[in-house]
Symmetry: C2
């Protein structure tokens, strides 16, 4: 209605720059200043002309984050961390969940909704290398997670093989001899043996043990229910395992539930290690030993990489794709160490 930034600034008694900072949702504006500017905006009925800005810069200030499951606390934690990291670059996050569907992952990776976003952070489960190589258009893309691709995109993921070896080494150190792996994918055509399973195998071989394939349990997914079903199967073996390394914490928590139901003592009879360090694992009747990826670092690095790429979009020679390995730690709790 002809109300300008300048009108708002005068009404609020601040500089145009400050109004602009508030309107663009930049951090580090004092709350009371923000309130005053917002009040002036309301009183004058000012509407920031995002469309004009969008036309001018060609950017929306929005980045998308696509994760397979919001119901998995790992991804909820990661999403919260990405929202924080993006705010430091004055970007808003559009959060999408692909529900672990390949079609949805493909669509997202190919630039679906690309008219809304400046860039995309994608954590794929099913996406194939060919899907990525087919990608010729769309906004800058950064990949997260343990699937490895031979495609020219930045990829942020901890060293999953090393992390899995660390978990298995911990169990070997406790004297366990029949260490199961729970959470291999059932559909091996689509999903090759993943890195955590490879780490399990490598560590056993490196210490002179034979990986027992009957102790590798495939699951339909990576949820508590999958862990419960798999654990039931393992307990019904003639010779059950004395340790379980689970693909993630949710699978491990499902396994722990079955062990509690069956009255199996943890860790005395069966020790359990998960992966992700979600909060649920810290509050069970038996707290869960787990691999803790540095989620804040993953989020920060992903956003940094993406912003760099967005800003280099018009460079004649784009930056080389980077493979970054944030750190991880083994967090030892009751499911392997027992109660103090």
């Amino acid at each position: 209605m002809g109300v300008s930034l300048k009108d708002v600034a005068m009404r609020a008694g601040v500089s145009v720059k400050t109004v602009s900072n508030v309107v663009n949702d930049y951090p580090h504006v004092r709350p009371d200043t923000r309130d005053r500017v917002q009040r002036a905006i309301d009183e004058l009925g000012y509407r920031p002309n995002a469309t004009a800005r969008h036309l001018r810069t060609g950017r929306s200030g929005i980045i998308a984050l696509a994760v397979p499951e919001l119901g998995n606390p790992y991804f909820a934690d990661l999403a919260a961390a990405v929202i924080d990291a993006a705010a430091h670059h004055a970007h808003t996050v559009l959060l999408d969940h692909t529900a672990g569907l390949r079609t949805k992952e493909t669509l997202v990776s190919l630039g679906f909704r690309s008219h809304l976003i400046d860039g995309l952070i994608l954590s794929p489960i099913h996406l194939e290398n060919d899907d990525l190589l087919r990608r010729r258009a769309g906004p800058p893309l950064v990949l997260l997670g343990e699937r490895e691709y031979d495609a020219p995109f930045d990829h942020i993921a901890i060293d999953n093989v090393a992390a899995a070896r660390l978990a298995v080494r911990h169990l070997i150190g406790l004297g366990r001899r029949r260490i199961a792996f729970v959470g291999a994918r059932r559909d091996s055509r689509r999903q090759p043996a993943h890195l955590r399973l490879r780490g399990w195998r490598e560590e056993l071989l490196a210490t002179g043990r034979t990986p027992r394939e009957d102790l590798v349990v495939a699951t339909d997914g990576y949820d508590r229910l999958d862990g419960a079903v798999a654990m039931t199967r393992l307990l019904d073996l003639p010779e059950p395992p004395d340790a379980v390394f689970a693909y993630n914490d949710l699978v491990a928590l499902g396994a722990l539930r079955v062990l509690a139901e069956r009255g199996v003592r943890v860790p005395e009879e069966i020790a359990v290690v998960g992966f992700d360090d979600i909060e649920d694992g810290r509050y069970g009747a038996v707290t869960l030993t787990t691999i803790a990826p540095d989620k804040a670092a993953i989020a920060r690095l992903a956003v940094d990489c993406l912003i760099t790429r967005i800003e280099a979009a018009t460079d004649p020679v784009p930056p080389r794709p980077r493979r970054i390995l944030p750190s991880h730690t083994l967090v030892v709790r009751e499911s392997t160490a027992g109660r103090a």
Copy 2:
């Protein structure tokens, strides 16, 4: 680059309408059709002209959902349900978390980022009635959650008093006499006694019991840690409770952890009821009895209300604000019924 919808339609061998459906992310497009259209879009380098559409309709096709905590699985479930419900109306969801901060809730409610969004669904914790009454501009707003306001906005929430009374009635029916409430807010100036606490009190009074205020434990927040701290305090009372009704499942799970640590038998010595029906409660060593709000209905009703309001934005007489009460159920599990 001069590539039109029609060019894409011809390349893909489909109608312009179908291309438009894909571009606008409408549901019910067959995956193979979607793939074919997407391939044509990639090959031709077509970019949907969202800016032009935005200028024409004044709408972005984006609605925002602001929740206090993504780390609480209840809100993660709700977010996933809202994303699904919005997709049925061809809207994209921009997810924001307010981290339970009043300043952030106020900013969001006042129309922060309103240049990006057509409407807002907000689940507030600290927002005051005055904050809402001050709101004179900004996009259509729908409220979620148990805080009650006397302000002209649609509000979707289950009947929290009735739900709490149902939980307490269940515990009374089990013969429990010292029923604690865990999760009252410590800062009572900001957060008046909430509806779940009121339900606890009303049900005790209605059955001729005296609500014992020493069994009401205030907490700093609604997380597992808060439940653990509160449970520790209750166990240290000269006469501990024989039942706990927790503000939510996270608080209940924190309490269960402490009970396991202390070797207190659940439910024999202390029965526990939570609120939210998050998945974590179904997989503990003792599964959690809880109040289950109909999350899918909450999400659907919130999106329906918001879309109605967005479409009525230019009506001379806007629709009257609605207060809608989705249903809830009591789900009885081991923490009150014991193991079968």
